[in-house]
């Protein structure tokens, strides 16, 4: 007899736990306000990334098309993956008559970048920073190799002091 009572108890308590579980899911289906879906491409206008979000390395240029990169290669050394490649050039300074290093191209291989943020603190002149763009999908891998300094841009005066 005790066996039968235990058997019934087992069934009843088992069913109770199942109903308890169904209560949880039942709560959510009856509370559509709890829905947390964000519809991504549609909410692009309101989507704001966090300030520190690391999307890609960018080089800010001011209105005179000037940047702050002296071509010191500190970022290139700091990068663990060889993502940054600086092609240098020497131009003659008219006033002093000395040759001076500048950058010809600041090549950034986005396909190799792990967004580790080691290059940013390494830069002595704050010439590069992390951008917010994260939509990097392209059709061809070669498009991921970017030149960060804009054509015709030059070093901002007073950065090197």
């Amino acid at each position: 007899m005790r066996g039968i009572i235990n058997y019934i108890k087992e069934v009843v308590s088992g069913v109770k736990t199942l109903i308890n579980g169904m209560k949880v899911t039942g709560y959510y289906i009856s509370h559509p306000k709890e829905i947390i879906t964000q519809q991504y491409p549609e909410n692009r206008d309101t989507l704001k990334m966090m300030d520190r979000f690391r999307g890609e390395v960018i080089m800010p240029h001011d209105e005179n098309n000037e940047h702050a990169c002296t071509g010191c290669q500190a970022c290139e050394i700091a990068c663990p993956n060889g993502t940054i490649e600086i092609i240098q050039d020497r131009i003659l300074n008219e006033e002093t008559g000395k040759k001076k290093k500048t950058i010809l191209k600041f090549v950034y291989h986005l396909q190799m970048c792990t967004m580790c943020n080691l290059c940013i603190p390494a830069c002595p002149t704050d010439a590069i920073k992390m951008g917010q763009n994260f939509e990097h999908a392209v059709f061809d891998r070669s498009q991921l190799t970017k030149v960060l300094n804009k054509p015709g841009s030059k070093l901002r005066d007073g950065v090197e002091e």
Binding site: G21, E34, T37
Partner: protein, 362 residues
């Protein structure tokens, strides 16, 4: 009864007559068969699309998601798009698969559910086959489907598929018993196996209310066993995505896969429809004994809506099961059947027979 105005037999009879005036008796029969066949084919497609959409939405809301939202208004055309995608997909097959059986399996499954749906009473006078052994016919026919699953698993020549098929075989053979016995509990009450008569007998009230606790227990068991019969979660061991990748239909793609998918949803509909018919009065409106005015208002809602509403309710409960519970293990599945459902069912049917003998039901 007020709902007699919605009697579909008037419509069918007039069609029969007008056809009879045009052609001979055999031709009439063949034409009618073709018409019914076409209607059911369309119903299959529509049901499949609607149920897949419903499942995706319901599951999404259980999970605090929105579900498909892109194609059409609130994603209503999503399943159509999916169907087109499946149609255009390449039908792949493993090199060492048994080609004939591999191609045959999805058809067996779909034919089984096709045959079962023929006996479902949709509304007053709207039933393709009103057999006098309807209950028996449906239980018999719906178990043909397992042959298709076994074939699919075997012919795929894939061990995961085979394990899934064998699980499914063990599962359906045992849960067939519970489904049959729980239906039998109601058959004891009605004294008939014919669906139209069973519904007619619920004119005064649905069996789940009139049949005391045994009817309710039978209903719960039917729901559990019915879910198991359709290979749906928490009894989806034959697919068991996290264990067997996709079980018996691992190797299927394109339209052949869609057949399995469709059959699963249509089977769910059939189980829910049978449950609604046996326990919830089928297309019979909700009646409360003395409340005449209430009963009359209920009668104005067409029987088809009553039927579809009840079926949808049962389908929703089955979805609720699926999206809440973890999957059972194969030995626990069989334990549940043989140690719990079957004994409870047998005692239940005994109690029910006693109640019927004493005439204690309402």
């Amino acid at each position: 009864m007020k709902f007699d105005i919605y009697d579909f037999s008037v419509l069918t009879a007039s069609i029969h007559e007008s056809l009879g005036s045009m052609m001979g008796e055999t031709a009439v029969m063949i034409t009618e068969m073709v018409i019914v066949g076409v209607i059911f084919l369309t119903l299959f497609a529509v049901l499949g699309l609607a149920l897949v959409y419903a499942e995706r939405k319901v599951c999404a809301f259980f999970q605090q998601r929105l579900g498909p939202m892109r194609v059409g208004f609130w994603g209503t055309a999503q399943t159509v798009a999916d169907a087109i995608k499946l149609l255009l997909k390449e039908p792949l097959m493993t090199k060492s698969a048994d080609k004939f059986l591999f191609n045959l399996a999805p058809f067996i499954i779909i034919i089984a559910s096709f045959m079962a749906i023929a006996a479902v009473p949709f509304a007053l006078g709207l039933q393709a086959l009103d057999l006098d052994i309807g209950v028996f016919y449906v239980t018999a026919v719906s178990s043909i489907g397992v042959a298709g699953i076994l074939l699919a698993g075997w012919a795929s020549n894939n061990k995961f598929s085979l394990i899934g098929a064998m699980r499914s075989g063990a599962q359906i053979v045992s849960y067939e018993l519970s489904v049959g016995l729980s239906l039998l509990t109601i058959v004891v009450l009605t004294g008939s196996l014919q669906f139209s008569e069973i519904i007619e007998s619920q004119r005064e009230g649905w069996w789940i209310f009139r049949g005391h606790i045994p009817a309710f227990i039978a209903f719960v068991i039917f729901l559990i066993a019915g879910t198991a019969e359709t290979n749906r979660g928490p009894f989806d061991l034959a697919e068991a995505e996290s264990e067997l990748t996709a079980g018996f239909h691992t190797e299927y793609s394109g339209m052949k896969f869609a057949f399995f998918f469709l059959a699963e949803f249509v089977n769910m509909f059939i189980i829910a429809a049978i449950g609604a018919t046996m326990f919830l009065g089928g297309w019979m409106p909700l009646h409360f004994g003395e409340l005449t005015s209430f009963n009359e208002i209920m009668d104005f809602i067409p029987p088809l809506f009553w039927f579809l509403g009840k079926t949808a309710f049962l389908i929703f409960i089955m979805m609720w099961f699926k999206w809440t519970f973890p999957r059972l293990r194969i030995d626990q599945l069989l334990t549940l059947e043989w140690k719990y459902l079957l004994p409870i069912n047998l005692i239940n049917i005994l109690v029910m027979a006693f109640i019927v003998l004493m005439g204690w039901y309402f």
